[in-house]
């Protein structure tokens, strides 16, 4: 899990300018920089945490994001990681059923914190279809890699879908219809997190 979190931080850092550019088009242009700052702070804590269970790692990640990101992604991703951490508390390995449960808790946390649902041009528009694909794959008996591959594809479709809809949550909702045609940065960063997970299991 430490490797996955480090790889996530590296991916976010690599894409921070692109995420910021996406955010600039529709909102306050801080998403990439804020996320990179948060995940770099997470990386700084990870080395001291080797040997800890997955739950503790994810909870620390969440708490660090809340206190370092600064924008809405902080409380949203922070809550998501903390909720996923609670589900995986005490575990040193994660099977496909654990992943489904963790992702369900993470999405529940984002919905609770952001009072948001799908179709509002947010990170939920890539996360929710990804979760649905993952869950049905696992229920159909697929292994983690197969189910997660489908989840990432669903998230990619979700990111494309955000271009077609108007933002009704978050800062981008201030520009209303003018947000149509632009890809949501939160949905995009959520896709990166899932891609890194797939590449590292």
């Amino acid at each position: 899990m430490i490797d996955i979190l480090k790889a996530t931080a590296a991916k976010i850092d690599e894409e921070k300018d692109y995420l910021t550019e996406l955010d600039n088009e529709i909102a306050d242009g801080d998403h990439g920089v804020n996320m990179a700052k948060g995940f770099n702070a997470v990386v700084a804590k990870l080395d001291a945490m080797s040997g800890k269970d997955i739950g503790s790692l994810l909870k620390t990640t969440g708490m660090t994001l809340v206190s370092t990101v600064g924008g809405s992604a902080g409380p949203l991703y922070g809550t998501a990681y903390m909720k996923a951490g609670s589900v995986l508390s005490g575990k040193n390995e994660m099977d496909e059923k654990d992943l489904v449960a963790a992702m369900e808790a993470a999405i529940g946390g984002i919905q609770m914190r952001g009072k948001a649902t799908t179709g509002e041009k947010t990170m939920l528009d890539s996360l929710c279809p990804a979760y649905d694909a993952l869950k049905s794959g696992v229920e159909a008996g697929e292994d983690m890699k197969t189910a997660l591959t489908k989840a990432v594809e669903a998230a990619e479709t979700g990111v494309e879908y955000t271009k077609t809809i108007k933002a009704t949550k978050g800062r981008a909702s201030y520009i209303g219809d003018r947000s149509i045609g632009h890809q949501d940065p939160g949905a995009t960063s959520a896709l990166y997190i899932l891609q890194v997970l797939l590449d590292n299991i």
């Binding site: 306050d28 801080d30 804020n34 809340v66 206190s67 990101v69 600064g70 924008g71 809405s72 992604a73 902080g74 409380p75 949203l76 922070g78 809550t79 914190r113 952001g114 978050g170 800062r171």
Partner: protein, 128 residues
């Protein structure tokens, strides 16, 4: 006296609201929690926690926030302080901040402050 915390993405905005409120209520326990720890734009969990601690008493603390992460981060700070008397107020930060500081300094209890903010929101500045 109820303590008051102004949360904004901008440190100067939060401090400005405190400055303005103090003009009306110089003895109010009102503090700013604006911007990030490095002074940049955003909301800081730590700054909000410290601000609440600074003005906390048994009478409680009222928090007014600007938007987005200001609201969500404040929510998380309050959840981390379980059992304490802290209330988020929904309304305009400038007008609400002034009214809440004034009311708090006059001894209005925490439970009645939202109503005062609602009145501040509904007050027309330009008569037609």
């Amino acid at each position: 006296m109820v303590g008051v915390v102004i949360v904004s993405h901008s440190q100067t905005l939060a401090e400005g609201v405190v400055e303005l409120a103090k003009l009306m209520a110089s003895d109010a326990h009102i503090v700013a929690a604006g911007g990030l720890d490095d002074g940049g734009l955003g909301t800081s969990f730590e700054k909000i926690s410290n601000a609440i601690d600074e003005v906390y008493s048994d009478d409680g603390v009222a928090v007014l926030m600007d938007m987005g992460s200001a609201v969500m981060t404040t929510e998380m700070v309050i959840e981390s302080m379980e059992g304490r008397k802290i209330l988020m107020l929904d309304g305009p930060v400038v007008e609400g901040g002034v009214v809440v500081a004034l009311e708090a300094s006059l001894g209005t209890p925490l439970e009645e402050l939202q109503e005062k903010v609602d009145e501040a929101r509904d007050t027309k500045k330009i008569e037609k």
